[in-house]
């Protein structure tokens, strides 16, 4: 099926093919007869040998052979020699079949099955594997089989590590060997086997090893992913860390009621306009965590007793783990007309117990070798780029510089490489246009990091939102429009945002936006959002009242790229609530199930959707049904 040249079939070839086919049909028919009638005579078994040696994909024949072996074993119970010869014959047939097609699943599995009867030696199997390595060093069946043999015959991981080193030295363009190496090394490091106790001692040699591959031929991908893994091993901190929270420690939280506060000296980061009797407490971690609850997190607050707090993970499926966790604090009665100032403690009002440590002392002492390693890598890749203008050089340098900046994070060290990184991604868009959107996404992430890196930069982008029809002392709006953003990030710096203008960008996704729990107004107009399912994060924004998604591409695409990333009726973990008669599935809901699912829990008063292909009169009346609290649709007041 692969790699055969296209040739027209000549009449004489067709006739020969038909004759061959008839012969084969007779044999296969005979074989099936033997199989169904449990005939395991010498001739019958030889017939299956003949078939498998030419067509190892005939899986029923391998099944038949196993039955034949079982049959022979029960007959020759006590004779070890005959056991050996029976199994040897099977191994020979497998080898023969593999010569015909060394990627035959059936053949490899048969060999494993035979080995489970306790025969053959590790040397024998390794010798066979060497033959296959020479024929095709990327044959994943052979590599899988090698891992199987090594595990079942107790070959040491160090020996296998040496084997990958030999293979790579022989030819560095062997991704399969690099993969196996990373697997073995990862296990040895995890188990802290002697000689592999500290990453600090192990990683430098690995970096040098992979440099040889990358620097010899920068276009060969074999070493790229191994290098990325080394980088991850260098910077990763295993225990979860609390990156940011809202309210921010050391600030004053001013809860405003209905009245506008003119000349208020507070910053938009600490002034919060209250809409209801509750407000959220948000925790943002550097990775998905589980187990945030009132016994692992303590909140000191005059508003609530700690044990009443119920923490929820913000995840789109029913996952118990999330990067962002939120709880609600209740306001005491009678406070809506005046404002009140709540000082937020300097030390974090949120302290945590055993499951989530904030900073681990061990990791701080590791800092020196990590920083030194990154610095060295940066030098190496600058040198590479001075000799060859290559994609992997620029991409790796960009990643290294970002990793460097992330590690130097205490704001005391203000030197940032973000300008250089943005330039590198611009270069990459030109150098490798096939992957331009990948580099654009990375560029957007770095740009957002730059924009949100300090209070002055953020403040310069805060404005009063002048288009709101109910403009009475409304909060400040953060404007991130017209930045060619294709991707969002830096949410940990934006937890305080209540009004956000992301219009006139190139967003096709708002992944991660659910972290901004204070959002009441969101403008996503003039982007390239392609479906309602892409708006999944909005389902978690309980405070959202005004949403603008006008001039996007909803309804313009036949393929939905966020269908399985949202909790939908097609999703197993959520589907059951949809199917157990909670909803009467009328025709409208069937036609617009994505819109229904995303919008039905929201409390919007203002919605803009004009300029999307899905919009027509039928859809608009559907919207009004689904959003009963809606007062404004596409700028028109509803009655």
């Amino acid at each position: 099926m692969h790699g055969r040249p296209r040739k027209p079939l000549k009449p004489e070839d067709a006739a020969a093919s038909a004759a061959k086919a008839e012969k084969l049909r007779v044999l296969q028919s005979q074989f099936l007869h033997n199989h169904h009638n449990h005939i395991y005579s010498k001739e019958a078994v030889e017939l299956s040998t003949k078939l498998l040696e030419t067509n190892p994909e005939l899986y029923t024949a391998w099944n038949y052979r196993k039955l034949a072996v079982q049959h022979k074993l029960t007959e020759n119970d006590s004779d070890p020699d005959s056991l050996k010869s029976i199994l040897d014959e099977e191994l020979r047939v497998v080898e023969s079949a593999l010569r015909q097609n060394f990627k035959s699943y059936g053949a490899w599995h048969h060999r494993k099955w035979i080995l489970s009867k306790g025969h053959s030696s590790i040397d024998n199997e390794l010798r066979l594997l060497d033959k296959f390595q020479k024929a095709d060093s990327r044959n994943f069946h052979a590599w899988n089989y090698r891992r199987f043999v090594a595990a079942s015959m107790n070959r040491s991981e160090e020996d296998e590590l040496k084997y990958t080193e030999d293979m790579i030295c022989n030819n560095f363009s062997n991704y399969s060997a690099w993969h196996n190496r990373s697997l073995l090394l990862s296990n040895l490091l995890k188990r802290k086997v002697e000689g592999f106790v500290s990453k600090e001692k192990v990683l430098p040699d690995e970096y040098e090893f992979v440099h040889q591959a990358i620097f010899t031929d920068p276009d060969d991908q074999s070493g790229w992913f191994y290098h990325l893994w080394l980088l991850d091993q260098t910077v990763r901190v295993d225990s979860p860390q609390l990156v940011s929270s809202w309210p921010t420690p050391g600030s004053d939280l001013i809860l405003l009621g209905d009245r506008c506060l003119d000349g208020c000296a507070s910053s938009p980061f600490t002034r919060f306009h209250l809409d209801s009797r509750t407000f959220p407490l948000v925790l943002y971690f550097n990775q998905a965590v589980e187990g945030v609850n009132s016994s692992t997190i303590t909140v000191d607050s005059e508003l609530n007793t700690n044990k009443d707090l119920v923490w929820k993970p913000l995840s789109s499926c029913n996952s118990k783990a999330a990067q962002v966790w939120v709880t609600q604090l209740n306001l005491p009665d009678g406070n809506t007309h005046s404002s009140k100032v709540f000082p937020v403690e300097d030390s974090s009002p949120i302290s945590s117990l055993y499951q989530l440590s904030i900073k681990n002392d061990n990791e701080l002492t590791d800092f020196e070798w990590r920083a030194a390693t990154i610095a060295k890598e940066i030098d190496h890749f600058r040198e590479l780029l001075s000799l060859i203008n290559c994609k992997i050089g620029k991409l790796t340098l960009a990643r290294l510089l970002m990793a460097h900046d992330a590690m130097m994070c205490p704001p005391a060290n203000k030197i940032s490489h973000s300008e250089e990184v943005l330039e590198l991604y611009n270069d990459l868009m030109r150098l490798d246009p096939t992957h331009v959107q990948y580099y654009k996404d990375q560029h957007s992430l770095v740009l957002l990091q730059q924009v949100t890196s300090n209070w002055e930069s953020l403040l310069s982008r805060c404005f009063h939102y002048s288009n709101s029809p109910s403009n009475r002392g409304s909060p400040m709006c953060l404007q991130l429009k017209n930045l060619s953003l294709s991707r969002l990030g830096s949410f940990d710096k934006l937890l305080w945002v209540q009004m956000l203008d992301l219009s006139h960008n190139e967003l096709r996704s708002i992944e991660g936006l659910e972290a901004l729990q204070l959002l009441s107004c969101l403008n996503l107009s003039n982007n390239i959002l392609g479906s309602f399912t892409a708006l999944e994060p909005i389902r978690q924004l309980k405070s959202l009242r005004a949403l603008n998604i006008s001039y996007n591409e909803i309804g313009a695409h036949s393929i939905d790229t966020t269908k399985y990333l949202c909790s939908s009726p097609l999703s197993h973990s959520v589907g059951s609530e949809w199917n157990h008669g909670q909803t009467v599935i009328d025709d409208d809901i069937k036609s617009y199930w994505e819109a229904y699912f995303i919008l039905k829990g929201l409390n919007l008063t203002q919605f803009d959707i004009v300029g999307n292909a899905i919009v027509n009169e039928k859809f608009k009346s559907f919207l009004i049904k689904v959003l009963p609290g809606l007062k404004w649709l596409d700028g028109e007041q509803l009655h």
């Binding site: 099926m1 692969h2 790699g3 055969r4 040249p5 296209r6 027209p8 067709a14 093919s17 086919a21 084969l24 049909r25 099936l32 994909e57 005939l58 899986y59 029923t60 099944n63 599995h109 099955w113 590599w143 899988n144 891992r147 991704y175 993969h179 697997l183 060969d220 991908q221 074999s222 790229w224 992913f225 893994w229 995840s315 499926c317 029913n318 996952s319 096939t434 992957h435 959107q437 990948y438 996404d441 096709r508 992944e511 695409h557 036949s558 393929i559 790229t561 966020t562 269908k563 399985y564 990333l565 909790s567 009726p569 097609l570 999703s571 197993h572 973990s573 199917n579 069937k590 199930w593």
Partner: protein, 314 residues
């Protein structure tokens, strides 16, 4: 840019269906049920499912069912999950899944789940994440997914996740686009895609696109039209398909057509077959090529077929 020779491909598929006597056909007799799925799904995407005799197809499929409840690749061969999925998928195309005893078929699959959550392909015990995908996809179509231990199944798939973000056949197996499709598809159907590092895997997948615009299955391998499905559907399920150049891929697929005799091959100017014809057309559907029915990236069936299954529950 060339055009899709849809009519030629329809003719090609019908001719393969009829031509059971060539040597190639006999050699691949044992997987004819897969071939039926590839050919018929292609016809449906091209809007020509009615070109075949529905009753003929269905009665033949039922003859492939074994007393265990599973299906064989052809009449008289042994049952295996590979062909069981194809059988259920073809019946779904014709909206005839309900002629099956869903419990009987599901029990066959349920019986093949192992303690660690993995699935064997048949009673002989080969384990592979392909079979995890098959089990989850098939049981979901039969609306019997709750009969297996889904959490354990997900756990096993996650154990096959590699350091490069991809997935292999078994724990420790090298990342391969075919296996990645199976694992990502299974996790998608099970509502468990949060286990995938979308950025890491997305980068690995988008780097499958080589200079010619085609996609390969793993680093430093040749491009092949079948990866237009496996890589593309995986990218779509994790919302990273914009990281490849879609136009270049469309051109590569169109270049792999046999414009005279119909059919699509693995690479330009190679021999065509039904397998690559299906993956080429399905890939074009995912790329929103005009005139094709949209296909669902997880179930590998047209979207209207999938919607019919899930919205018609009583």
């Amino acid at each position: 840019m060339g055009e899709l020779a849809a009519d030629k491909h329809v003719k090609y598929i019908i001719s393969v269906e009829k031509k059971k006597d060539s040597f190639e056909s006999v050699v691949m007799e044992h997987l004819r049920l897969n071939g039926a799925y590839w050919g018929l799904t292609t016809l449906d995407i091209l809007g020509k499912l009615d070109a075949v005799d529905e009753e003929d197809v269905i009665s033949w499929i039922l003859k492939c069912q074994d007393e265990s409840g599973g299906f064989a690749g052809n009449i008289g061969h042994d049952p295996h999950v590979l062909y069981t999925l194809s059988a259920v998928q073809v019946l779904a195309l014709f909206d005839k899944v309900d002629i099956l005893d869903a419990d009987k078929v599901s029990n066959y699959i349920v019986g093949l789940q192992n303690e660690d959550g993995s699935f064997s392909g048949d009673i002989w015990g080969e384990v592979d994440t392909r079979f995890s995908y098959i089990a989850i996809c098939c049981l979901s179509i039969l609306q019997r997914l709750d009969k297996i231990n889904v959490d354990k199944a997900v756990e096993y798939i996650v154990s096959c996740k590699n350091l490069d973000g991809g997935f292999g056949c078994t724990p420790g197996g090298e990342s391969h686009s075919g296996q990645i499709f199976c694992c990502v598809g299974a996790l998608a159907i099970a509502g468990a895609l949060h286990h995938v590092d979308k950025d890491l895997l997305g980068w690995w997948l988008c780097e499958r696109q080589v200079k010619s615009g085609g996609l390969n299955g793993r680093p430093e391998k040749l491009p092949d039209v079948c990866y237009s499905w496996w890589v593309l559907s995986s990218l779509i399920m994790i919302d990273r398909v914009h990281w490849i150049n879609k136009d270049k891929l469309v051109k590569f697929i169109l270049d792999c057509q046999d414009m005279e005799n119909g059919g699509i091959s693995d690479r330009p100017d190679d021999a065509v077959d039904v397998f690559h014809t299906y993956f080429g057309v399905a890939g074009l559907s995912l790329l929103e090529y005009p005139g094709l029915k949209p296909i669902d990236p997880a179930y590998a069936l047209p979207v209207d077929v999938v919607n019919r299954i899930f919205f018609s529950k009583k």
